[in-house]
């Protein structure tokens, strides 16, 4: 907490940089009042439209499951297959744009004005952006993806080390192993973090330096001018709420399934809706406590606990597995990533369409649809950093952590598969039959103390979901309150509970989660355009700032 007591001297106003003068007052479109005993303060069209539309979507998927399923899966494949070139090309632009910001003079601009000081230590800041950004995905895909890319998806046409009968082809092993790691790192490295960095930087810049409300629409001020406070802006914000809530609800559903699979694996808890509904209820309850305790007392504390446990698990796998081999993998994986990043990110004329459309395009759409949520959360905790520091910490450091994570978890898993294919649990769960929620537990099975580490892994999955759920609720609450971060408590409680309820309802309906996941991916398409505009807005905004 910073104390700017008036008799201690207030920082010079030019420290606060080039404020955009607008006639719009934050909160002018808000309605506040009481529902029964509960107070509220909401942005009039955005809150109501997004709330009602979400309810309508849920009813649609429940009432007409077959029709909804067919419609959404058509949309899903139309978006990821028809626009793969667009996603890949745009993501490359984001990476290049971020790298440029590091080296150009605008990197000196400080978020929050020249005099601003950072609010969070590096550790706390990093823990929060990492836990919100992709922690959960690392648990789900850390084992699955390297093994799958090595053996099945054949990125850039690199052949599998197994023949059709499952026998090892020794001469293919080295290249396939390196490509497996490189392709995974590619999906979790610079590109996703550049996507988050663009949104986060746009919001931080227009909010902390330009004085506009902390909502997605503010980044469009240079393009739309005052019209951004009207329907154009409403549409952008409603889309952001959709992407965030549906993204969180589907993740909650899938997370409950993974935790359930893990509990079944370790304790024999039956797999089914009862256990999963209880898990979602539990996760929502913890998230509720966290949002009530607020950003510092809840979200930050949980994120730090989370990262600490994850680091311990990483260290354990590193030491219990073949340590030297993993460290070699780390080096080789990183080298292969650097070597292959250009061919892997090439948007046109690719032969490996299965990999590009099934994985890369899907991932880019997924990261982009999550970017309003993660970006806004990162923005909120990043005041006081310079642009250069910000991009380095949001782009380079998390990418390296992901490389390490994938090299350790993927490296151990690949080693298990290759050294003893006949008994490898990972091979059984990933290559022979495709069982994603179990892949992590299958890898831990091959290491000592599997029961203990599996329990830790289940706890991690759950806590990662809590940290996504609580920060997501804060973000949705802020957007639907027109950028106010001090809206009444019942509102954030409402979004947190609503999110859990949507997840439960969809989990109980056949194919509900898949339908909604397709919806989330589809929102990635309009948001890619949003992000491209943001790059331009950031550039313009930064040039006006004093450095």
């Amino acid at each position: 907490m910073t104390d700017t007591s008036s008799d201690q001297g207030i920082p010079e106003p030019e420290g606060a940089a080039a404020i955009i003068e607008t006639d719009y007052n934050i909160g002018q479109d808000n309605i506040d009042g009481q529902v029964g005993p509960f107070g509220f303060d909401i942005h009039n069209p955005v809150f109501l439209i997004s709330g009602l539309a979400i309810v309508a979507f849920v009813f649609y998927t429940l009432a007409l499951p077959d029709q909804a399923g067919a419609a959404f899966s058509w949309l899903f494949s139309a978006v990821t297959k028809g626009f793969d070139w667009f996603f890949l090309g745009a993501a490359n632009i984001f990476v290049i744009f971020c790298l440029l910001l590091i080296v150009t003079p605008v990197g000196k601009v400080r978020l929050g004005g020249a005099e601003a000081t950072p609010d969070y230590s590096y550790i706390g800041w990093f823990a929060m952006l990492f836990a919100a950004g992709m922690g959960i995905g690392l648990m789900f895909f850390g084992v699955l993806e390297p093994v799958y890319h090595m053996a099945i998806s054949a990125p850039l046409g690199v052949p599998s080390p197994f023949d059709a009968d499952g026998n090892l082809i020794p001469e293919n092993v080295e290249a396939a192993k390196q490509m497996g790691l490189a392709a995974t790192i590619f999906h979790w490295g610079l590109h996703p973090w550049a996507i988050y960095a663009v949104v986060a930087l746009a919001l931080a810049l227009f909010s902390f330096n330009k004085g506009l409300p902390l909502t997605i629409r503010s980044a469009f001020y240079p393009v739309l001018g005052e019209r951004v406070w009207g329907w154009w802006g409403h549409v952008i914000d409603v889309l952001a709420v959709f992407a965030t809530l549906f993204g969180l609800a589907t993740s909650l559903g899938f997370g409950a399934q993974q935790a359930n699979a893990g509990l079944n694996h370790v304790f024999g808890v039956p797999i089914g809706p009862t256990a999963q509904v209880m898990l979602i209820t539990g996760i929502t309850a913890i998230a509720l406590i966290s949002v009530l305790r607020g950003l510092d007392g809840g979200v930050k504390v949980l994120s730090e606990i989370n990262i600490a446990i994850a680091a311990l698990l990483l260290l354990f796998v590193l030491l219990a597995g073949p340590t030297m081999l993993i460290l070699t993998d780390f080096g080789q994986g990183l080298a292969a990533y650097v070597r292959e990043i250009v061919p892997l990110s090439n948007p046109v004329g690719r032969e490996d369409t299965g990999f590009v459309q099934g994985w890369t395009s899907f991932y880019w759409a997924w990261w982009i649809s999550w970017s309003p949520f993660v970006g806004m959360f990162i923005a909120r905790v990043s005041r006081g950093r310079t642009v250069r520091e910000f991009i380095t910490c949001v782009l380079i450091v998390p990418s390296l952590v992901c490389v390490l994570w994938m090299a350790v978890f993927g490296g151990v898993a690949i080693d298990q598969v290759l050294s003893d294919p006949a008994t490898s649990q990972v091979k059984a769960q990933v290559i022979d039959s495709y069982n994603p929620p179990l892949s992590l537990f299958a890898m831990l099975e091959g290491l000592p103390l599997a029961n203990i580490t599996s329990v830790i892994a289940i706890v991690l999955v759950i806590v990662f979901f809590v940290t996504s759920s609580d920060s997501g609720s804060l973000v949705i609450d802020t957007i639907t309150a027109g950028g106010k971060v001090d809206a009444p408590v019942p509102q954030r409680v409402f979004w947190c509970v609503f999110e859990g309820a949507v997840a439960i309802v969809l989990l109980l309906s056949a194919g509900g989660l898949q339908s909604l996941q397709s919806m989330v991916i589809s929102t990635g398409l309009p948001f890619t355009v949003v992000l491209l505009v943001m790059c331009w807005a950031i550039w313009r905004g930064l040039r006006e700032e004093p450095r």
């Binding site: 907490m1 104390d3 007591s5 008036s6 420290g15 606060a16 909160g27 902390l214 950003l295 971060v485």
Partner: protein, 138 residues
Amino acid sequence: MFTKIMTPVDLAHADRLERSLVCGAALARLWGIPVTYVGVTAQTPGSIAHNPEEYARKLAAFAEAQGAARQITAQSHAVVSHDPTADLDDVLLAAVKDTGADLVVMASHVPGLADYLWPSNGGKIAAHAAASVMVVRG
């Protein structure tokens, strides 16, 4: 009796504070002691100000106007919080210490059902502050 009064103010809803402001000022004149107006802001732009510095200036102006209108010595103390909704009570309790006030005069609504779930700020401050607390209803 007392040496300094602290009055928390919500600049966005200053119209609802009239009774507590009048009351605090009357007590200040009675003992000839100063009032410090405490305001809490987030770092993000809000309905009052674009940034914490602007908020602090507006709070200082508010205090000055109160001082002139009610003939008291008035000061201001702006505090920045990451999450005002959740942290308000703790921030105000810290402000009681920081300002060195030994009497807090603050506005509060009439308690209702919701106060069982989320106790009012006034109630929480009265329960935990070392200073004397006067909670002015409605």
